[in-house]
Symmetry: C2
Subunit: 346 residues, 2 copies
DNA sequence: CTCAAAATGAGTTGCGTACCTCAAAACACC
DNA sequence: GGTGTTTTGAGGTACGCAACTCATTTTGAG
């Protein structure tokens, strides 16, 4: 009836006895310190595996009195999504200080590869872990690899740099996000035929490009009655987004759907309402104060969201697990693609 | 540029000095031990607050050598959702044992109030925390309150007992889940007029009743062209669900939507396909191997899901925080209502 | 003022690990 | 066999707190 899921607690001393060596040797093996014969290493490792030994997290943490330092490298300038991440980190301050963790925010121009790379290089040695919103660019990739080589744990946040040797990526699969947006626009259009507009920040941004790719995939395969118009670039700015979209709406009377890939949501909504096109199915990204309002008003129909609070916490947990050498709970740290409509607004 | 989010690390000794008392007195205050004058308690508390003192989690954990025991009281019998929760707890075993936590699964008939209450009472004293899938019934409520009074931390899981003094509820808002289902059925029906069928396990179950309530709310308010048929009771069984639904489908040719509130999904899908009614918008609950397949095949259109992995982990984290006297990260532990469609299948 | 009760101080021990030193043993090489 | 090097053992200290004991001081009631 009652089934135990955990094993009994062993200590290093037990492992030492099992392996027939002293505590010091076990310690050397555990921390990859030199001066142990390969054969002895093997014996110790075997004893550890055989007993599924887990070092006591609390004891380990206590013993290494040095506090851990993590840096979050984020875009400078006002970006609601990033501000939310910052806010959630602030909410964790009690949790962090109880674990003697120091988290610092570093604002930089993440869109300039050389500036970003320089910011990353400057962190080397000072931090145990770095979470960065990074561009996928050779210079940045090199900076990340340098950090990794220096022993710093590196996590990419929101936007990945898959070609680098970063330890982990905390963010969503943007192609799947685009596919989801496509399915929503198509299904919510409810069989109407017509055109679909797409507004992005820039097709040069990896995440935007991936979303558009996924979006087009689904539209082409499943909604033959809907034709996707060429992508508008709004540079994530309200005014420009409004401008380009207004022009497009003027030219096409049969637009039934709209996918806003990045920010500039305010401008997009404005253009729609000024053109009196509130029947257009409008799908966008992220739950902010603005999109929340638009969803409640029925202007937006759905938002694709990656929970920023979850991302912030996952980044910290992953960095901590990496620093401690603990396994990562992949399932827990995976960021889901949330579909948010009016009735399941968080 | 670099802004620190945490404060410097103080220790109990610092607090003692600040408050002008000895370590022993601080310890007494911190653990609510008797023998301290109210005025002194106040002084110590003030020193703690003034410095936003956080006991070092690792040190505290290490000092209390006793391992913590948590019990998960779950329904007996084969229930895929519950099995998933069990599986995720199993995946955490490394994480658990590194923290010297013991989690035990206790299967019982959660639908029989007296049996459930007896199971709960039996736990008293042996466990630091209990997570229970519980019925909302006076007898159960009393058993929960008894546990709480005995100092055990109690968390309700999936289904709440709001009238009890349980410390926390880990699960979704079922009314909002029902509303979301309603919005999905209505929107995905795409303007078609007709009838909507609802299949539930039993209207006596609190969570099912709440979902139906939310569903009807939205349908009545927003989709006047759709009329909801009386709720069918399938007792969460495949065969019975298929039977009752098949009969209903035979009687009504104009059914355009279907909401399956509980389990029995296999039977519901079977009835639909045998009647050749694959155009019916089908919304159900939970992502299992079955619903995953149905979504991919296009039989189901959307599933409302509460991530069982998240629920399992949240329950453990909440119990641990409660046991340690740490604050709970409400935002983190909140269970979201996930809308899962084919393209954002996790 | 007296005396018991209450409040407080001072101190100890142990939790399991990290990190360090120093000496002893084992080994390799000529 | 002697030398130098590598490997191993033994042991200590520190980390911050929980939990406890025992002596001492303070307090309040009579």
């Amino acid at each position: 009836m009652a089934e135990t899921l955990t094993t009994t607690a062993l200590t290093l001393k037990d492992i030492a006895r099992e392996a027939g060596v002293s505590l010091a040797t076990v310690d050397r093996v555990l921390h990859n310190r030199p001066g142990v014969r390969p054969d002895t290493v093997r014996r110790v490792r075997e004893a550890i595996d055989r007993n599924a030994f887990q070092p006591h997290v609390a004891a380990a943490e206590l013993a290494r009195s040095r506090a851990r330092r993590f840096a979050f490298v984020m875009p400078s300038g006002p970006n609601p999504f990033m501000q939310q991440i910052e806010a959630y980190l602030g909410e964790m301050s009690g949790w962090l200080s109880a674990r003697r963790l120091k988290v610092e925010m570093i604002a930089t121009d993440v869109f300039d590869p050389s500036v970003l790379a320089a910011s990353l290089e400057a962190l080397s040695g000072d931090y145990d872990g770095v979470a960065a919103v990074a561009l996928d660019h050779p210079t940045v990739r090199a900076a990340i690899n340098d950090l990794v080589d220096a022993g710093t744990k590196v996590v990419t946040l929101v936007s990945d740099v898959p070609s680098s040797r970063r330890h982990h990526y905390v963010g969503i699969d943007n192609i799947a996000a685009g596919r989801t947006a496509g399915a929503l626009v198509g299904r919510l259009a409810g069989g109407r035929a017509g055109k679909v507009a797409v507004v992005a920040g820039s097709q040069g941004l990896r995440d935007h490009a991936e979303r558009i790719f996924g979006f087009n995939q689904v539209m082409a395969a499943e909604f033959p009655d809907l034709s996707v118009l060429p992508v508008l670039e709004g540079r994530d700015e309200d005014s420009r987004s409004e401008q380009v979209l207004a022009r497009l709406l003027g030219r096409h009377a049969d637009i039934v759907g709209l996918y806003n890939v990045g920010a500039g949501t305010q401008g997009v909504a404005q253009a729609l309402s000024e053109a009196g096109r509130d029947k257009v199915v409008f799908v966008g990204h992220d739950v902010t104060a603005l999109t929340r309002r638009l969803l409640l008003q029925g202007v937006m129909d759905a938002a694709i969201s990656q929970n920023p609070g979850h991302e912030a916490r996952a980044a910290v947990r992953v960095l901590l697990a990496l620093a401690r050498g603990e396994p990562i709970l992949r399932e827990q740290e995976k960021i889901r693609i949330d579909i948010v409509m009016r009735d399941n607004l968080p």
